[in-house]
């Protein structure tokens, strides 16, 4: 059954990877991993959009799988015709140093253990936590059980905790998976969760390897995998890890676009930002953060860069706008007096206090990972010249603006602030975590330099 589910989802994932390759035809082996990692998110994103369109146009009458297969064959032919006379760069594995091999081996062992953690967690709690079944899989059930009346999942009569306003990338993929296998098998949402965990790991390694070194990539990936919250949230069948992935993808692609002066990355960045907004409402913040970051950092070439970013954003943004026009309003924007809350100093203390505690305990590490990385940065050399890199400035700006947005959400929430902080702060920090790690490992000296013979 697991293999069957995997192969159904493999077709959209390959479609996503082929689209990434068509836009960015880099023929290095290391680029393959990045394209496959991007393909997972893009493929599942496109799949959800196709299924959403099918539900709206002719529910139960349009075969989305058939559309995906036609797309796969078409893309495959185009890629084949373009690539048949091209040469791919060969990676000489024997040219890796001992420290690189050591880090890769540790990383691979850690990856294998991560798979075991995911499986154990999924077996112990097949329906996952309350947010998974009451919000995301609940929506998937509405869609799969009554596709002709799927809009019932957006009903304002639903209890606020069911979050009828939440976007549908994850539930649509789960519902589609259930439709493919003909039953509401718990392995489908597990598989969707696993894809995003895998894609996040792949993206971390690939982006750092492309921009720094293999050793740095292995280290960054090990820190990500070593964060227990990352895999537990991934196995939790919630949308925090998918939106984390899309935020990371969009930010990293914008970094690559501005560093390597490649517009294709901007198109992909815009598309991923749109898919973040199609996954969770926090993704809507990301869209604004990315646009503002481009304005701040790339003013001289603003029109050109915005043009490509918005071109990528167009399709998912259209879905989001249509969805928001029929969905109920978010529970975060009901009642409450914004001015009173903005002027309430105690709220600021509460938020900063909670943030301070999270900085010490985030991720369920046995020590503070942020403090540990800070010491690491102090000891290792920081490449201060990278401060002038536009890509890095855009990445840092996006993270900062997204964080500011989260801060405002806590400041203005109509719910009890302590409850909101306790239930969401750690998840919001997780959403930015891989982007922050990527930023960190982009400026800190590589491990290879430590062992470089003098």
């Amino acid at each position: 059954m697991i293999l069957t589910i995997f192969f159904f989802f493999l077709i959209p994932i390959l479609n996503g990877s082929l689209i990434a390759h068509l836009l960015w035809p880099e023929r290095k082996g290391s680029a393959l991993l990045l394209k496959f990692s991007l393909g997972i998110g893009m493929g599942l994103g496109i799949n959800s959009i196709l299924y959403f369109l099918a539900l709206n146009i002719a529910p139960k009458q349009i075969n989305v799988l058939a559309v995906e297969v036609v797309l796969f064959v078409t893309l495959g032919i185009i890629v084949f015709l373009r690539e048949r006379n091209q040469k791919w760069e060969r990676r000489r594995f024997l040219s890796l140093s001992r420290i690189q091999w050591g880090l890769i081996i540790v990383g691979l062992i850690a990856s294998a253990m991560l798979v075991l953690i995911f499986v154990d967690q999924s077996i112990a709690q097949p329906q996952a936590g309350i947010d998974a079944w009451s919000i995301w899989n609940r929506a998937a059930r509405f869609i799969s059980r009554d596709p002709e009346n799927w809009r019932a999942t957006l009903s304002p009569d639903l209890y606020w905790h069911d979050h009828a306003d939440y976007p549908l990338l994850v539930p649509l993929n789960v519902a589609w998976g259930w439709q493919m296998i003909g039953s509401e098998n718990v392995r489908v949402p597990m598989m969707v969760g696993a894809f995003f965990v895998l894609a996040s790991i792949g993206m971390m390694f690939a982006t750092v390897a492309l921009t720094r070194t293999i050793g740095q990539a292995s280290l960054a990936t090990l820190v990500l995998m070593g964060t227990p919250l990352f895999v537990w949230a991934g196995a939790g069948q919630v949308a925090d890890v998918p939106v984390m992935y899309f935020i990371f993808a969009s930010s990293a692609l914008m970094f690559l676009a501005l560093t390597q002066q490649n517009s294709a990355f901007l198109i992909l960045s815009g598309f991923m930002a749109g898919l973040a907004g199609w996954t969770k409402n926090e993704g809507l913040l990301l869209i604004v953060a990315c646009v503002v970051a481009l304005i701040v950092v790339n003013l001289k070439e603003l029109f050109r860069s915005l043009k490509f970013f918005l071109a990528g954003l167009a399709i998912p943004l259209t879905m989001i706008l249509y969805f928001k026009s029929i969905a109920p309003p978010s529970d975060l924007f009901t009642g409450s007096s914004a001015l009173v809350q903005i002027l309430d100093i105690s709220r600021y203390w509460m938020i900063f206090g909670a943030l301070g505690r999270q900085l010490l305990t985030f991720g369920y590490w046995p020590f503070s990972i942020f403090i540990g990385l800070a010491f690491y940065a102090l000891l290792m050399q920081i490449h201060w010249e990278t401060y002038f890199d536009k890509g890095l400035q855009a990445l840092a700006s996006t993270i900062l603006l997204q964080s500011l947005g989260y801060f405002l959400i806590f400041l203005l929430t109509p719910h009890e602030l302590i409850w909101q902080l306790n239930t969401s702060l750690y998840r919001l920090i997780l959403q930015l975590y891989p982007s922050e790690l990527f930023l960190f490992f982009s400026v800190v000296s590589e491990p290879e330099k430590v062992f470089k013979p003098t």
Binding site: I109, A152, D157, Y159, D162, F375, Y376, V450
Partner: protein, 140 residues
Amino acid sequence: MRLNLKKIFLALLVLAGFFSVVQSWLSTLNLNQGGAAIDAWEARLMPAKKALPIKRGVIGYVGEWDAPGISYAYWDQESEYLLAQYSLAPLILKKGAVEEWNVAVLSEPAFAAWQKANQGKFEIIPLKHNVYLFHRLANP
């Protein structure tokens, strides 16, 4: 000296990351997070789902918190309500006996108290495991 410190710190970071993964894995061995509870709840509500004459639309949900004079644990009731919504999807559940058709999960004392307070207003269809259907009467 500084170079040796760098090597030590690098090794510490690698070891910390690796052992964090190991510790995380060890913590998931023999893990039991009550995964069977949701399946049990769904099985408990299945007769109600089959007995309901409507398959889409809004129904009411009656819990211990609707029975006058009955003490209850709020979060238990909230969880049961959310579980009922998950189980009975795509039906939409509103709190209280506010619709024509309503599903109730009530202990015997709670059912007695609720029935006393709503005598004659509903046709009561008892199912297994303290689950009931309450059908609002047109002319109580």
